[in-house]
Symmetry: C2
Amino acid sequence: MIQVCIIGSSGHFGYVLDGLREVPEARLVGVAPGSPGETMDKVLAGASRLGAAPRLFDDCLDMLDELRPDVAAVACHFGDHARVAAEVLKRGIHAFVEKPVATTYSDLRMLRDVYAAGDARLAAMFGSRQMPHFRTARQAVREGAVGDIRLIQAQKSYRLGSRDAFYRQRSSYGGTIPWVGSHAIDWVRWIGGETFESVLAMHSTRDNKDHGELETTALCHFRMTNEVFASVSLDYLRPPTAPSHGDDRIRIAGTEGVLEVRDGRVLLMNDREPGIRELPLLPKEDLFPAFIRQLDEEDGRVSAEDAFAVTEACLKARQSADEGRQVLF
Amino acid sequence: MIQVCIIGSSGHFGYVLDGLREVPEARLVGVAPGSPGETMDKVLAGASRLGAAPRLFDDCLDMLDELRPDVAAVACHFGDHARVAAEVLKRGIHAFVEKPVATTYSDLRMLRDVYAAGDARLAAMFGSRQMPHFRTARQAVREGAVGDIRLIQAQKSYRLGSRDAFYRQRSSYGGTIPWVGSHAIDWVRWIGGETFESVLAMHSTRDNKDHGELETTALCHFRMTNEVFASVSLDYLRPPTAPSHGDDRIRIAGTEGVLEVRDGRVLLMNDREPGIRELPLLPKEDLFPAFIRQLDEEDGRVSAEDAFAVTEACLKARQSADEGRQVLF
């Protein structure tokens, strides 16, 4: 039996609760807050719907020391991800961590060092990687559907609504580029397959409806290896009347075609057939069960490198936006 | 009767031929090449379909001096626009010029000076301004459909095909940012209503299928007044199998909604109604008749400022891409 704990209730702990249904060999044994002021009510309610009865701890370190779980999910305030994940890893416990895995360079360095010093696994909650449309897009591009990739445009657009207090401070929220942008920056790298060389980004807190330091808009412009260019557009401007919460898009133009993800669909034009084709979608693949399955695999440490690389790209983009200058990798 | 000449056959001289049908008081009296090696066969063929029989000159300056037309359209190699347009203006003749109106800073400065010294009018062939979808988008945005504009993404994607020899050299072509990008950069300014503050751009000639110095891809990232950010993505990667020659798009996100132009349609979401609405389109308004009509109007010199400002933005973006650094306005 694989013992699982959840720390925090601010990120996508639902990935773990949903995933547990698919992993009968795993059991939720404990939950605890990871940041000041977090309550675990929503997590406990979700657990009870699963038929699980985890113990509630006030202190996540006490929980880790007492229960000694195999896996801990970290989903507290974003500014605390690195510190808490490091405590998990130091105890030899595998960490399934909300992205970005750190919100400062020093925290990222610290987490990388702790990870490198041990054998425990780490993966970030790149939620869109589990989605049929992004999985399908990646497979098609990797199989050559657009030839050599030359240009990428990615977009995340969300409703703002009224966000918890911790979103309003850089120290706990981390910034819109790391929080919202990490997904799109991951797509650029995960689907595009190139490495970041430089970034120029901009962000603005204008019209954020009393959300303090939260940036409402951001635009990042990456130069990748092989003269591939990528734009990442981020905003919280999606109106409340929109047909869905988010509007995720990516367009990948290559030497032999153009592929787009939009409205959960994958559209392809290429040299081989006339017109625009909608690709049949791969099934959803839940992240948490995949993380559990790869704990026994040799190459299971790849996921941590993805988490660190994307987090670093987010921090460089945020630095660029803060300082108004291009930042090199 | 308004006497009209056409110089060159490389740009959109069709705007003039089409427009003449709507302007019975104007008559095409002469045509001549504007750049070495240009033939005027296509222009003459188009004229004869109109029932016009313009005189063909070998030298455009001889034509201007002998016919003394009221208006001359300039549509030669792009690197010759400024020189030829200046000759037109110096003679007190109104100039309807293919964009960009110059391909170097010194030519732009020279053309601005010549324009300022006289009374003749100048307008650039911003062809998409005449299109129903862009006219509708601008009207809606200017009427407040999305509230205050915060973020803009624009795209031009073309088929490359096999282009004339003059496209293969920077000196005659000017670059993909000025040639293709001038449209999208014009939308950003014309619809968005803000002023450029800085630009970072990148471009690449990779995989240009023997088109010499022609850039296949470009990505421009503008900072505008009021912390409005705009990306402009340009490519010649549209496959031959695509359903149309070009794929023009713009997305404008504001404090109260998001408006998009895509596939010739205008889609709006905002706070006022649920879901996505497709806006009814304004009619097409041909550029050339509009230019002729405004020759008698007081504010008819606005169009030249648009042409100069967009050309300058293109040249700064191209400089940024050439030098790999941000350029200020």
